[in-house]
């Protein structure tokens, strides 16, 4: 156990999460109890893999961005050798915050308190007034987190012994592939900055709500009335008409798959190929007619990667827990490499329409979550997540598939949550005993 992890082996203090998560219901206490939140910090946010950022945010040597993982301040840095590292933003001397700006570019990182100087690898290089400091500088570093990336998506863990990232991602690498393949080069660029939305609600309501296809008709009724969009057919039709699906990919990764609804290219952009002929051409040239047309019709995934990443169609989203009753949702538009500027500007405008504090959609989702938090505040007992248990099937990939309005996504999230919170191995396929 490294120095980051609080005493998670102190089992006496653990909440018995197994008794609070069942297949078809979860207990309200999980959203409000500070002891549960502490256990989430140590088990989920410090014990497993969490998403940090994308390497396109820091293309040049010495560039860094600040992030908060759990409640820990970290830096994602482009190191001298071109690799990306994730390290603590806490000085090894007396613990001051080393970098204050949200992003920057430096050759060395200097702590503002007493001036200790670190290199981009986090090694201590210089100590002012060295005559009084007899210890070996090699003992002091900005502590590196274990980090791995998949197609530029950088994940980190405070726990050195965590199994490889691909074990955690499991089948969900397919989802990240689909996100990247929206670009003709397979590369995306997260360069538009992040908009941050505060929810006075528990962080778990963010992944739950973002993959809840059941609320769209009610929470977003005003949106549907004010504007025509691709969601009219994909998520707001009648129960028998809608062909979109809710999917549980395993390991807590879940998706609302709107693609079965899309019958023409670029519906997911609420647009047509005639509006963006150059993008269409480049995609067909890059992927060939068949796959290119499939991507252009199906569009990007709408999927949560457990615990804190949301591939939100043409947005990348981070869930940041603050306390049992407060969270922040970050989002940035998914910009594409080597496409006409017109399509990236369109993606930015669509991003503002859907996501963030003033968006047509998310402004209402945060308020709905806040009302839920208020109602759960004290003596709430069980919340039902059984919807669709009577009509699930398992597809050829082993993915559990249900109707878009079903709660299989939330069940998938909670089963993984239960595993991780109770200390069962956090990897591997979950038991598939849910078939109708």
């Amino acid at each position: 156990m490294n120095g980051f992890t609080k005493a998670i082996d102190d089992r006496a203090g653990l909440v018995d999460v197994a008794s609070l998560v069942e297949t078809d219901r979860v207990h309200g206490r999980l959203y409000t109890d500070p002891a549960v939140f502490e256990q989430e910090m140590s088990r989920i946010f410090y014990g497993g893999w969490v998403f940090v950022g994308h390497d396109s945010e820091i293309p040049d040597q010495g560039q860094y961005v600040r992030r908060t993982l759990g409640r820990e301040e970290v830096l994602m840095v482009r190191r001298r050798d071109g690799s990306v590292g994730v390290m603590s933003n806490r000085c090894a001397h007396r613990g001051n915050l080393v970098c204050i700006k949200n992003q920057g570019k430096e050759r060395y990182l200097t702590c503002p308190y007493h001036g200790w100087v670190y290199d981009l690898e986090g090694k201590l290089r210089d100590v002012p007034y060295p005559g009084g400091f007899a210890k070996d500088k090699a003992e002091f570093t900005l502590r590196a987190l274990r980090s791995e990336s998949y197609r530029g998506f950088v994940f980190a863990s405070f726990t050195e012994s965590v199994p490889p990232l691909v074990d955690h991602l499991g089948k969900a690498t397919i989802l990240i592939d689909r996100t990247c393949e929206m670009s003709p080069t397979g590369r995306i660029r997260l360069t538009a900055g992040w908009s941050k939305q505060r929810f006075y609600a528990n962080w778990k309501m963010l992944p739950e709500n973002d993959t809840d296809g059941y609320h769209v008709n009610d929470v977003h009724a005003s949106f549907a009335e004010a504007i025509d969009s691709q969601y009219d057919a994909a998520a707001m039709g009648s129960e028998t008409m809608m062909r979109s699906e809710a999917k549980d990919w395993g390991n807590g990764h879940t998706e609302l798959d709107f693609s079965p609804t899309y019958d023409a290219p670029l519906k997911w952009l609420n647009s047509t190929p005639e509006r963006f002929p150059e993008y269409v051409q480049r995609m067909l040239a890059a992927y060939g007619e068949e796959k290119g047309n499939r991507i252009l019709r199906n569009g990007p995934p709408h999927a949560v990667i457990f615990p804190n990443l949301f591939l939100g169609e043409m947005n990348i989203v981070i869930f940041q827990p603050v306390s049992a009753s407060e969270a922040v949702q970050w989002h940035t538009p998914l910009l594409l490499e080597d496409v006409p500027d017109s399509i990236n500007s369109r993606i930015i405008r669509n991003s503002e329409a859907a996501m963030g504090p003033s968006a047509f959609l998310l402004a209402d989702d945060s308020v709905i979550s806040e009302r839920q938090q208020m109602a759960l505040r004290d003596r709430a007992d069980w919340l039902d997540i059984s919807r669709g248990l009577n009509r699930e099937r398992i597809d050829e990939l082993g993915v559990i598939v249900g109707h878009v309005t079903d709660e299989g996504t939330n069940r998938g999230f909670w089963q993984q949550y239960r595993k991780v919170m109770t200390g069962e191995a956090g990897v591997g396929p979950r038991p598939m005993a849910l078939s109708a």
Partner: protein
């Protein structure tokens, strides 16, 4: 599009300054009271309603904004609010803002460019029933209509905390 401080074009006369201030106060009051249709009547056809992530050098075509509405999207925003089902504003927030430090200048083409500061207190009646404080700098661009009244074709709201987490902002700020 970026904005620096107000450069010295022609400052306006007393009477014009009075008209401009009265316009800003009225615009603020209609927004405070969620009188969307009346607020929208102040808006010109080429309106841009922009809330970047603060006062920095933000480019609308490269950076994500909090809000970046052209006239048609602003119309949609108001239509959504007027459905009565915009949960984030059901019931509407109780709001009062103070507008001050008004600096106005006349551009060579006769339009006005106006900078002001504001502090807005919002009672979030739709959920937490807590009071949020919003503060920032605003740039308005105004022009005379044929009937002599002022119309607004640009409103840029630079929140002091635009790059920090913001709660639901479904009202007109």
């Amino acid at each position: 599009m970026t904005i620096a401080d107000a450069p010295g074009q022609t400052t306006v006369g007393l009477e014009e300054y009075h008209h401009i201030s009265a316009f800003l106060f009225r615009e603020a009051r209609l927004a405070d009271e969620s009188r969307y249709a009346e607020w929208e009547s102040l808006v010109e056809d080429d309106m841009l309603y922009w809330v970047p992530r603060g006062e920095g050098e933000f480019d609308m075509n490269l950076d994500i904004s909090i809000t970046a509405d052209n006239r048609s999207r602003l119309r949609t925003r108001i239509r959504q609010l007027m459905t009565g089902k915009r949960h984030a504003q059901v019931p509407v927030s109780a709001m009062r803002r103070v507008v001050g430090n008004i600096e106005a200048e006349r551009m060579p083409n006769g339009e006005f460019r106006v900078f002001s500061n504001f502090i807005l207190h919002e009672l979030r009646r739709s959920s937490t029933a807590t009071v949020e404080v919003w503060a920032g700098r605003v740039e308005h661009r105004l022009r005379r209509r044929p009937d002599g009244s002022l119309g607004m074709f640009f409103k840029k709201v630079m929140l002091i905390n635009g790059d920090e987490p913001l709660p639901s902002l479904a009202f007109i700020i």
